[in-house]
Symmetry: C2
Subunit: 385 residues, 2 copies
């Protein structure tokens, strides 16, 4: 079932926790796990060239199907030969299903879901959900789109990342038990349709150089959650992604939710991706629970407001105390920014809103994340996790 160009192997398992040291092989190279997945929403990691990105040590890039469908559009990406050829990003890439954005952006944030089982009672006029799919208007130009599992997969196959993700409904935080049940049944059905569409379309276009992740949604009701996780993980996906834990939940709820999932899915054969989580203080806990990869916008978003990652927290380079500080962000850091520029210069660039600021800060934070994961992998190998 799985093409020879793709492989997942576990190199080492912790005796103290569920942490694992693994390796994902793809046509665009190897990802040593646990790994951070850098977000490049629109086929560009904001402010970086592919060469900058490589120098940060980035192993894996996450692009958003919703945004790419809107611009440059699937036809352009298809004509260009896929997202790697178009963006010149060299690392393995994963696209999401579009589901998260359809529900959070597509509705222009005006979505109000009726908890009734009757879909026709939904109040939003911008997003309408049915078992067939999700109809919504673009948050940028008002164009109408109909996202179905088939449309999502066809789009993702045309985008041509190494990994695509099955189409899912992102359950909103606070959904009732009734709504959760209905939503999970829909996600389950959409997972099967996604898998089917993937096998039909990928060979006609990218000659098997793609694999697919299933998305596990669960919600806050343990029985429903466990049942759903079991059903999704029973399907022949290459990898499993855990969704629905990034919006609204407290840190303890996130941990509880992820553990419900990880307790029931098969352990060694597939990589596990946690969608949208990547705060420094979450990562080690999640790795110990058995998560392999994490995508999160926080390190790059923090960078663009001058919040620079250092060993014991965050250095806010906009503070006046750095105005004349001629030391690097972190004297021990080996990134281009730290080897070249001072806190004072970065302070000046940020205060003056100079474009170079965002790039230098992004390079630093991504390098920091990669070094951080390198240490996690080392700790894992030496039995310290």
């Amino acid at each position: 079932m799985i093409s020879k160009t793709f492989e997942f192997s576990i190199l080492h398992k912790s005796k103290k926790s569920s942490a694992r040291r693994g390796r994902i092989t793809t046509p665009h190279g190897v990802i040593e796990t646990p790994a951070f997945v850098t977000v490049g929403t629109k086929g560009t990691v904001k402010s970086l060239t592919p060469e900058d990105l490589a120098l940060t040590g980035t192993q894996f890039v996450f692009c958003n199907t919703y945004h790419l469908v809107l611009s440059p559009g699937v036809d352009v990406l298809k004509k260009a030969g896929g997202i790697h050829a178009y963006s010149k990003i060299n690392e393995p890439i994963i696209t999401d299903s579009g589901g998260f954005q359809v529900f959070s952006l597509g509705g222009n944030r005006k979505l109000t879901i009726n908890n009734s089982n009757d879909d026709s009672k939904q109040k939003s006029t911008l997003v309408s959900i049915s078992d067939e799919g999700v109809r919504f208007k673009s948050h940028t130009n008002g164009d109408e789109y109909f996202f179905t599992p088939e449309f999502s997969i066809q789009s993702q196959v045309a985008i041509g990342a190494d990994f695509v993700v099955s189409f899912d409904e992102n359950i909103y935080y606070g959904a009732t038990e009734g709504y959760t049940k209905r939503s999970l049944a829909r996600t389950q059905d959409w997972a099967k349709r996604s898998l089917n569409e993937f096998h039909v379309t990928r060979d006609t276009f990218h000659k098997s150089k793609q694999q697919i992740y299933g998305v596990i949604q669960g919600g806050m009701y343990k029985d429903l959650h466990v049942n759903s996780a079991k059903k999704i993980s029973a399907l022949p996906f290459f990898g499993l992604a855990i969704g629905g834990v990034s919006v609204g939940m407290s840190k303890s709820e996130i941990r509880e939710n992820v553990s419900w999932t990880l307790d029931v899915i098969d352990s060694d054969s597939r990589p596990r991706h946690l969608l949208g989580i990547g705060h420094i203080d979450d990562i080690v806990d999640m790795v110990k629970m058995g998560v392999d990869t994490f995508n999160c916008v926080t390190p790059t978003r923090d960078a663009r407001v001058g919040k620079l990652y250092i060993k014991n927290g965050i250095l806010d380079v906009m503070l006046t105390k750095y105005k004349a500080d001629l030391s690097p962000i972190d004297p021990m850091c080996g990134c281009y920014t730290c080897k070249t520029f001072t806190r004072s210069y970065l302070h000046h660039l940020f205060k003056q809103r100079e474009l170079l600021a965002y790039r230098l800060a992004t390079i630093h934070n991504l390098f920091f994340m990669e070094e951080y994961f390198k240490k996690i992998r080392e700790k894992n190998e030496t039995g310290k996790l």
Copy 2:
């Protein structure tokens, strides 16, 4: 008088025009002239690292004293060891006097100059000009500054560029004969004070690794103009800059003004810089009149709105027709952007306001400018100008 680290030599003079092929030697390397001077207002060429800048072929960088005094401030630059050490820009740098910004920005654009000879009748409360200097409020934070020739030169020496520029009053377009006469007398006096201050302060700080340009202002009255140009050029400046021709004048007025100056200043011993002019359609004419170097924000500013320079004009990459165009901006161009990305990708980045857009476009336009000047120098050497 001139330090051995600085030299200007003329390698070839045209027989058909006043064009010359020259070379300016500085502690930061050689500038082959005619040359474009890339503007990096605040000690950063917008969006580029020093490495990017070097790859465009940039030979010479222009920074603005007014902006650098406001941020990061002269004390920071002094502590850092000057603008090269602070910004890591490797090319020779010239700073302006601050005069242009003091008059155009410092007054928050509300300056209304009374044409009377009596300075006390000036109407502006934000900028007040006297023979001593110019008092004005910062356009960013309202702090009050008093720019005098001495303050400008002390600031520029601390900034530490290869070249500093004498403090001048930028005559506004449309000034009466009376006002022009008075203003030119002031600029003449300020030139002497600048030169004096330069010789007093530079040796205490940068050990002679700087040289100074005088600024010739002239205005629209030929007799006054010629008289002023003669007086400024009689002073022992390393180079001569022509000011006051970038705001308000028509193209024919610019040519007339520049020719008045060039006709009277000595011909071979000093480099001639034209302040603020660098539109493609002006350059060849000005080179033929004998200008050696040009600074202008237009190529970088155009880049940041998607106006990309090509052989026969400008390619506006925001146009819908480039949405799916998979060719480079210019198939014959050797810049990083053209060798790596397509018009379609640039269109997508610009439309989505992605930060990478501004950088890729800036790299292309600067590379174009450098290639353009390379051709001018070749034409000059082969007697075709």
